[in-house]
């Protein structure tokens, strides 16, 4: 595992991304984590990549190599390095002092860059060359990557970057001798895998599901979805618009969906808060929309670039009145693709809002994943009404056993009115007491139907274990690894992760919980939002494991809790 820390502006993210892509192309499985300040310049930036021969489940615990460009990065990340790790530092900048267990690899990154390449700005690429050597990765892969990145744009930039890479590689070879741990065994090929982020996978899932309209408003950490949609949707004969705020973004999505187009918006917590009145309208008027909430640390502006799972309550409960909605939480980059496809299918089938709850760590981390197979997810389309006899009226909101009413779209002959007022089956405003009871039941019945028709959950670990973990979203990877570590120590534990949070798979989850004596609920929020939902729904006491540092759980943290609970 490699960590890279420095000041914003040092080229940390570029270095990390290039290194990761090269490693993936050489056949390694990768999993990245990044944390950075919200401001464009200044402040500590950190990028981490964990690599291996088999799929990586989470960002890991400790680094093998830390590249610390600045004294601040060293002081922040250096002390945690274990005995067998190595610290590579810019010896032009500082000399590491204080307690350090790891070995030191001094390297004059700035002066190599300045004197041998001609500009101090290439020090990140000098470091890249050194990393290739230290991890035993072939330098050709990185040359090829630099050529892809700079070739055809700026020959001068390409030349100096290639030189920087070579200088870094040569310096490391001369001074640091052997690659660490004999280097990483590579196959030399990415194989049938993809390397991409959660947000990139989400966009692909949306396009594949037939999304042809996107409206958004810039917000960290969801802006890259808006940018990618703006680049891609027009090529798919679709439309992407940047609106004046999040209210108008979701409003445009409601309009497009009313018009018969699969439509979505993407935002983060503060934007989602603004969208919640429209969420209620989409629920009341039975309009299929998809909202992706890439959660960040809150409340209010909070920590915009840090991860958290604090929006579960607002996804499940926000908007006034009883407003049924579907909530889906992907755990992995792969999930971001498949669960987004599922979100569109469920929105159309049940004609209601579907919320995808991702988060900063999942949206922005890069993973190698098996190539996508869209046939794995069935994407429903809206049920259309049948022909009408002459003079027969179209009951847009017909009360049915499933709660689903066939719907036409503008341009088709079955004209109807819809809106936020309570209405009868014909869409006419109606405030009669019994009507509201009947129509509320009809709308909520769709949630029951959705529960019968959809399953998406995973069980991990020993099925006979009496200690189990019920979690949601991006904590799953750390939990899986922690369970495996526990098993190796003779501690039996299991885990249940449902990707559909509303409706939860009632009977399966209940029978899982019935087999447990102790239930751990890990969450990246302070209040234990999922824990309280589970308690109220299933009537079981749970042990909470909460963290709100803005940084995802490590396997060690979850493992330690499993140990404590198993022994206690």
């Amino acid at each position: 595992m490699l960590g890279i820390g420095g000041e914003a502006g040092d080229g940390i993210i570029t270095l990390g991304e290039l290194f990761t892509r090269g490693a993936a192309r050489d056949g390694l499985h990768v999993y990245t984590f990044r944390t950075y300040p919200a401001e464009v310049r200044g402040g500590l930036t950190y990028f981490q990549v964990r690599m291996g021969r088999s799929p990586i489940l989470n960002q890991g615990d400790l680094c093998n190599i830390l590249v610390a460009f600045s004294q601040e990065a060293y002081e922040y990340y250096g002390p945690a390095l274990p005995d067998n790790a190595k610290l590579l530092y810019d010896s032009d900048e500082y000399t590491p002092e204080g307690e350090l267990r790891a070995g030191k690899l001094p390297m004059p990154l700035t002066s190599i860059s300045r004197t041998q390449v001609g500009s101090p700005r290439s020090k990140n690429i000098v470091a890249l060359g050194a990393m290739a050597q230290l991890f035993g990765l072939p330098i050709d892969s990185y040359e090829a990557l630099l050529k892809e990145r700079f070739g055809g744009k700026s020959e001068a930039a390409l030349k100096s970057n290639l030189l920087a890479l070579e200088m870094g590689f040569a310096h490391a070879k001369e001074h640091f001798k052997e690659p660490i741990e004999g280097g990483l065994p590579t196959t030399g090929s990415l194989g049938d895998r993809l390397i991409l982020s959660g947000n990139e996978a989400l966009v692909m899932g949306a396009l594949q599901a037939g999304c042809r309209f996107f409206a958004g408003y810039p917000i960290t950490p969801a802006s890259d979805i808006l940018e990618r949609m703006a680049a891609l949707l027009p090529r798919w004969s679709g439309t992407a618009v940047q609106m004046e705020d999040e209210i108008s973004a979701v409003g445009a999505v409601v309009g497009a969906a009313f018009g018969g187009t699969k439509a979505m918006t993407a935002t983060s917590g503060p934007g989602f808060s603004l969208m919640t009145e429209f969420l209620g309208l989409a629920s009341m008027a039975e309009i299929p929309i998809v909202i992706a909430d890439i959660q960040r640390a809150g409340p209010s502006t909070g920590m915009p670039t840090k991860t958290e799972q604090g929006d579960l309550y607002q996804a499940m409960l926000s908007s006034h009145g009883d407003a049924p909605r579907i909530v889906i939480a992907p755990s992995t980059v792969e999930d971001c693709f498949y669960e987004t496809m599922r979100a569109f299918g469920m929105a159309e089938r049940y004609q209601m809002p579907v919320i995808i709850l991702s988060d900063q760590s999942l949206g922005h981390r890069v993973e190698t994943v098996p190539t996508f197979d869209p046939s794995r997810v069935l994407v429903w389309d809206r049920v259309k009404p049948e022909g009408l006899e002459a003079g027969q009226r179209y009951a847009r909101f017909r009360v049915t056993p499933s709660g689903i009413s066939p719907s036409s779209v503008p341009g088709e002959p079955h004209i109807f009115s819809a809106g936020g007022l309570e209405h009868n089956e014909y869409g006419e405003p109606n405030y009669e007491p019994e009507n509201h009871q009947i129509m509320s039941a009809k709308r909520h019945r769709k949630i029951e139907t959705a529960m019968q028709e959809n399953r998406s959950f995973r069980l991990h670990g020993d099925r006979t274990a009496k200690v189990g973990i019920v979690g949601w979203g991006s904590t799953e990877g750390a939990v899986r690894e922690a369970i495996a570590r526990a098993a190796a120590k003779g501690l039996k534990a299991s885990a249940f992760y449902s990707q559909i949070l509303n409706p939860l798979p009632e009977s399966e989850l209940r029978s899982y919980l019935d087999g447990l004596e102790r239930i751990i609920v890990p969450e990246m929020n302070y209040a234990g939002q999922f824990a309280s939902i589970l308690r109220s729904r299933f009537g079981r006491e749970v042990i909470r494991l909460n963290k709100v540092t803005g940084i995802p759980f490590t396997p060690a943290e979850v493992f330690s809790k499993i140990g404590e609970v198993c022994r206690g």
Partner: protein
């Protein structure tokens, strides 16, 4: 809300737009003639109900779509224009009509009014302006005269009114007119022009609330036809919209500029020059 049964094509009449729902408006409300004029304009343009969609907000005027049989969506307060934009972009063949009042469009929806106009999407926006909040029974709106005493401004409203037509011109609308709900023939004519306009057509209809702020007599005296002259001059249009204390009637601006929907079409053409997209090609980007 009766389905249009496929028969031999016939000329559309007012009967084809008749709704089963009776208007909730007070007798004498200005909005009745707006509804009648809109039906006349749609009949005149022979736009089929199935190809027409009316988006409305919240308030008395925003109940209009229930009383006419076309597709319609009655949305949340103030958000008529973004919803109408999404619908138009997703389904460009539709005739999209936005309808709401001065409170909906200028107070809670003021932000969207500016951005809706500057984008210039092809749609007609009818603002039924009664200078008051009628449905909530008589509070001051953004077009209420300063110092007017209402239940929520017992010492007179401290706010100075906005001029919606002038604001629309300044913001970038390409067809802007003002009419008075007592003048049905003129109103119908304006609606027809607005329906023909490729771009954002804004019509401020002075449509008095007979119950909480009856201004029929006031407007009969105060309104006057605007000056004759060119309709393609934005500065002159703003002057005309502001003149006579904002009580001039008629078309202030009528210009042809690229519409938002046309720009989106150009963007698609530009993007497609990179080659049509395919899932397989997209996968390659991540290898």
């Amino acid at each position: 809300m009766t389905a249009q049964v496929l028969e031999a094509p016939h000329a559309l009449s007012a009967e084809d737009y008749r709704s089963e729902v009776k208007p909730i408006w007070c007798p004498g409300c200005g909005d009745f003639t707006v509804l009648a004029s809109l039906v006349k304009a749609l009949v005149s343009k022979q736009i089929p109900p199935k190809d027409t969609a009316i988006i409305s907000g919240i308030g008395c005027s925003s109940r209009l779509p229930d009383f006419i049989s076309t597709y319609s969506l009655h949305v949340v307060h103030g958000r008529v224009l973004p919803t109408a934009l999404g619908l138009k972009l997703a389904n460009p063949k539709l005739t999209v009509i936005a309808a709401s009042g001065d409170g909906d469009g200028l107070a809670i929806g003021g932000n969207h009014f500016i951005h809706g106009a500057r984008r210039n999407p092809t749609m007609m926006y009818i603002m039924m302006d009664n200078n008051i909040y009628g449905m909530t029974k008589g509070q001051p709106s953004p077009t209420t005269a300063v110092h007017l005493e209402t239940k929520a401004s017992p010492y007179g409203t401290p706010d100075v009114p906005v001029n919606p037509a002038a604001l629309a011109i300044l913001a970038g609308a390409t067809f802007v007119a003002r009419t008075f709900s007592a003048k049905t023939a003129e109103m119908t004519e304006l609606f027809v022009k607005a329906l023909e306009h490729p771009g954002f057509a804004f019509i401020q209809v002075l449509s008095p609330c007979v119950t909480f702020h009856n201004t029929f007599d006031f407007y009969r005296k105060a309104t006057a036809p605007g000056a004759e002259g060119p309709k393609d001059d934005r500065l002159r249009a703003i002057q005309e919209a502001l003149a006579n204390n904002g009580n001039n009637l008629g078309v202030f601006l009528d210009v042809r500029e690229e519409s938002f929907d046309e720009r989106m079409e150009s963007i698609r053409e530009l993007a497609l020059r990179k080659g049509p997209a395919s899932f397989e090609a997209l996968l390659k980007e991540f290898r």
